[in-house]
Amino acid sequence: MTAAALDRAPSIGRAFTAQLQRDLTIAFRSRSELINPLMFYVMGISMFPLGVGPGAERLSEIAPGVLWVLALLSTLLSLDALFRRDFDDGTLEQLVLNVDPLFVGVLAKVLAHWLVIGLPLTLLSPLAALMLFLPGAAVPTLVLTLLLGTPILSLLGAVGAALTVGLKRGGLLLTLIILPLYVPVLILGAGAVTAVIDGVDPSAQLAWLAVILALMLTLTPFAAALALRVGLE
């Protein structure tokens, strides 16, 4: 085999990048789907001052929790689309049939989802933090927790999305089955931000978030791949 042919030979790495490229291209071509979860994030946050009053003191007290809960919800709302469109037009079947091992394809899709939802959300969070008067010293920690936490949300959510992909109205069910699994991420993420506000070192929470990320990165792609196979049977 020549070097050029070797370059074009199918490989796991190539399957991964091809899937990632494809998903990113599709995402950037339908801008509204890209923007909507972010708009939901900002809008949802702006509901809280309207609900509990505009006082800076109270808002800054609930800010870590609100910022994190809204991050959970925006991710959840975007998850249904993770496999849905591919399922509807049949490309998901192609993925399941063609990419072996399947978890590589799943991992590429999850990474694309995180790049399109989780990362922009993280980058947007300082602005949202400003709206809720989160103390400036806590903003870097907030960004760091979201940076560690949103990939976990995408990874765990992929399992739920894969489990509900064959269902006609899977959106709400997806939320129901995944939300309890998000509890540790919420506690550790919001806890780290609160810790900084209280003047405590948040590195323990950050380390635990990183541990959970490592664990989920190794386990959930397999579970999601299995769920896809089951759903497409």
Binding site: L173, P180, L181, Q205, W208
Partner: protein, 250 residues
């Protein structure tokens, strides 16, 4: 070892299981109910009142077994789910299906008795205490498994989907428990701890032990009944089920 293997292979036949499990279900339920009645009567009427809480602590004899069982039941469900996914044993699917509602009921019982117990001791129906919160999340996990199972139209797919969720939940449960414990140490420092008086005298401890064992036997029996029902429902088109139904008709 060889015999264990035979049993394992035979478990692949729902019919064999149904025929063998009937007496076990009746026996375990009977033993369980006896244990529960003895344990509760002993705990409610005979055990001495608590020096701090008076008589209100007696709800513990119902509350603690229910809480323990709801957790054991989830572990059993997760293990059954793993067996289904690895060996594709039909019976494991039926165990997942039968275990979920039972575990959810134990969860609700534990939460309700906890609320009733909390009113006189903590002065409030609900406290965001570590165990209460983990129990609530556990209930949500049960609801998720049940909802997913109901939503998927094809039986076989539904079973495997629910099994995947049960296994993922089982992996996540220790993380949830740990993080909830952590969350409490961060947010709440003044919670009245029931465990602050750790050494329980034997006359209070023994009825609890009897009650817990009774609950386990009862759970085992009810689970066997539930799995037996699942077997009949799923095999309803087979000859042996039809023969069985006809033979039971007057």
């Amino acid at each position: 070892m060889g015999r264990l293997k035979t049993v394992w292979h035979r478990l692949g036949s729902p019919r064999w299981f149904f025929e063998i499990s009937g007496p076990w279900a009746i026996g375990a339920t009977a033993i369980g109910l006896t244990g529960i009645v003895v344990g509760l009567a002993w705990g409610l009427a005979i055990a001495p009142p608590d020096y701090l809480q008076g008589n209100s602590f007696r709800i513990m004899y119902l509350h603690v077994p229910a809480a323990i069982l709801s957790e054991s039941c989830y572990i059993l469900m997760g293990l059954a789910g793993a067996v289904l996914l690895i060996w594709r044993m039909k019976l494991a699917d039926m165990v997942v299906a039968a275990a979920a509602p039972i575990g959810a009921v134990f969860c609700v019982v534990a939460l309700l008795t906890g609320a009733i117990w909390g009113r006189p001791t903590w002065g409030t129906w609900w406290v965001w205490d570590a165990r209460t919160t983990s129990m609530l999340v556990l209930l949500f996990l049960y609801f998720g498994v049940m909802a997913l199972r109901q939503a998927v139209p094809r039986e076989e797919t539904a079973g495997r989907a629910a099994a995947i969720l049960a296994v993922v939940g089982m992996v996540d449960i220790p993380i949830i428990k740990y993080s909830v414990d952590w969350w409490l140490t961060l947010h709440q420092t003044s919670t009245f701890k029931l465990t602050s008086a750790p050494s329980m005298p034997a006359e209070m401890y023994l009825p609890l032990l009897v009650s817990v064992l009774g609950f386990y036997a009862f759970f085992f029996g009810v689970l066997l009944f539930g799995v037996g029902n699942e077997v009949l429902v799923r095999e309803r088109r087979t000859q042996w089920v039809n023969d069985l139904v006809r033979s039971r008709q007057p």
